[in-house]
Amino acid sequence: MAVETTTRAKLRWGLLDVLVVVFALIPVLWIASLSFKTPATLTDGKFIPREWTLDNYRTIFDTDQFVRALINSIGIALIATLIAVVLGAMAAYAISRLDFPGKKLLVGVSLLIAMFPQVSLVSPLFEIERQLGLFDTWPGLILPYITFALPLAIYTLSAFFKQIPWDLEKAAKMDGATQGQAFRRVIAPLAAPGLFTTAILVFIFCWNDFLFAITLTSTERARTVPVALSFFTGESQFEDPTGAICAAAVVITVPIILFVLFFQRRIVSGLTSGAVKG
């Protein structure tokens, strides 16, 4: 199918793109703008701050509360992502390549988990974790994150694995590779874009979670940033913490953007071209 690329069409698409981007970015920019305002000018309704200040940023990094939450967030999200991607890759590989009894059941169950309303699991999880001593610990958050990230990882990864020609694996076996070597040296490098994509999705899911983080933590031991934000207060009850909250929001958005930008270069489509005829 030939795509029409007349000037008119280009203009129309360009306009549409700008509209979408502006619509998506305005709230983010607004928060960024608020984070640079002084308490006095916070509510002046101006998009560009009249008085620039970095006080808000200084405040959040001065409080132990935020720094500790940031460490928790990064640690928990990274560990959960790593485990989910490794487990997901193995499961997805099996699903896309092997025929084993219970395969349909496995796929069905993982779909079921993905669709299960998380809110209904909050109270049982709370009870279970308190009994097991997992409440308010890193594993206490990592485990449920893995549970809910795995179906996502399995689905995206098995789609990627299915794209890799099976002949490559046969060729590797003929060349003298074991099943494990074939996976590590031939299949995994080719599935790298899929692995990175999945890693980004899982990381964002863990990073953004609020529901589990607020119910399964009670102290700074395991509290993540989204929850810590909600506990922000001013120095006195009459002080407005809006500026600090905005600064914190900006700070926790930056890692995500960096994460995506860093891995984006690796998500090169068409990495498998040249493997088989075409």
Binding site: D167, K170, M174, G176, A275
Partner: protein
């Protein structure tokens, strides 16, 4: 280097379908054997079983005298070239070719030396640092071959390695493959569905149909002495003509006139369970313009007259298509062949007769022409079993044999 022996090798799937049935085959050391047949005949499955990529359901496979049924592909020391080439896209040509050597844990220097050697043989030296994506089809094919030859395996397996190339390149690569095999003297099993490739490449050809071996032999033997209807129709281009023949008073009644029978065939047809109808097969080159046949030759055949449909002049000779009346030959094998070739390409069983006449023949379209054909080269087939009745001790004796 080793011989490969298949001893009653079968492959059946859990749902009961049998892909390969009791294949007996002895491939000598250094031999070039072609497995050929229409799609779904089990040739690729057989190759995969030799490779170890598919389990053997029953029977025994021996490579170099050793039973390898339960050995993993990597322990069989054989290399394979895939139809899709299956190059590793994340590696350069050099890395692709070095991959099996690196897995074998050879030292860097030896690896480089071996890769350079193989690259030289296949004229890949200037491409060693490229990625497969930047290679043409023919180059990719050569890299795939290079990856197979670097580690000097006991045998090469090739699964339709040329079928993704365009026609001209295919002919070129055919000679490359042939020369390479002769040079290295490595036992090679080559799968193809193209009978021209089978005829030109192999020392011996194995024709398969529905999972069973139909006939094994050197190409010329299969061409001259086909054991059954399927082999006769599969080998040769254009294919053999097949005509309906009714047994009548010790002779055959066909659209080309009455064909006399020799004693042996007649005796066979006198048996109680003998078929009353036969299929007569004759190759295009066994016809000749009646004007150009000398008297001595004329006595060995009979003549008929038929309207000329199309004349294709090849320069060296002429392909002349005649329309003949009469019942069409019908057998399961012929239908299968027609379905495989695409009905248009397989004129053998239709009301059309393909003949190859001398270039001097003044034949013209729209005319009627007298044509002679050689009775000694005729094959007669039982439409029920497909068996070639003119075959005696593996040699075809024609209709008159006694």
């Amino acid at each position: 280097m080793a011989d490969i022996v298949l001893d009653k090798v079968s492959k059946s799937f859990p749902d009961g379908t049998v892909a390969v049935q009791d294949v007996d085959l002895e491939i000598a050391d250094g031999e070039f054997v072609i497995l050929v047949g229409p799609s779904g005949c089990g040739k690729s499955t057989t190759l995969n079983m030799i490779a170890g990529l598919e389990d053997i359901s029953s029977g025994e496979l021996r490579i170099g005298g050793q039973r390898v049924n339960d050995k993993a592909p990597r322990d069989r020391d054989i290399a394979m070239v895939f139809q899709s080439y299956a190059l590793y896209p994340n590696m350069t040509v050099r890395e692709n070719m070095a991959f099996p050597l690196r897995l074998a844990k050879l030292d860097k220097e030896t690896i480089n030396q071996k890769v350079d050697e193989a690259a030289k043989v296949l004229e890949l030296t200037s491409l060693l640092d490229r990625k497969p994506a930047n290679l043409s089809g023919g180059q990719r094919q050569r890299v795939a071959m290079g990856r197979a030859i670097v580690r000097q395996p006991k045998a090469f397996l090739m699964d339709e390695p040329l079928s993704n190339l365009d026609a001209k390149l295919r002919v070129q690569m055919r000679t490359v493959v042939s020369r390479l095999q002769k040079q290295l003297g490595t036992t090679t099993v080559y799968v193809t569905h193209d009978q021209t490739e089978a005829m030109t490449l192999g020392d011996r050809v194995v024709i398969m149909r529905g999972g069973a071996v139909q006939q094994v032999g050197p190409p010329q033997e299969l061409y001259d002495h086909p054991r059954n209807l399927f082999v006769a129709g599969f080998i040769g281009s254009p294919s053999m003509n097949f005509l309906h023949a009714a047994v009548q008073d010790g002779g055959l009644h066909t659209a080309l006139g009455n064909v006399p029978l020799g004693d042996r065939v007649r005796r066979e047809l006198e048996a109680a369970d003998a078929p009353r109808e036969l299929i007569l097969g004759i190759r295009p080159e066994h016809f000749e313009d009646a004007e150009l046949v000398d008297d001595d030759t004329r006595r060995r055949g009979i003549e008929f007259e038929a309207p000329v449909d199309i004349v294709e002049s090849m320069g060296s000779d002429k392909y002349v298509y005649f329309t003949v009346e009469g019942e069409k030959a019908s057998a399961a094998e012929l239908e299968e062949l027609a379905a495989d070739a695409g009905a248009a390409d397989f004129a053998g069983a239709g009301g059309n007769l393909v003949t190859r006449l001398s270039a001097e023949s003044p034949v013209a379209e729209g005319q009627s022409r007298r044509v002679w054909f050689n009775l000694e080269k005729i094959h007669l087939f039982d439409p029920g079993t497909g068996r070639n009745l003119t075959l005696r001790e593996g040699r075809s004796a024609g209709a008159l044999g006694d």
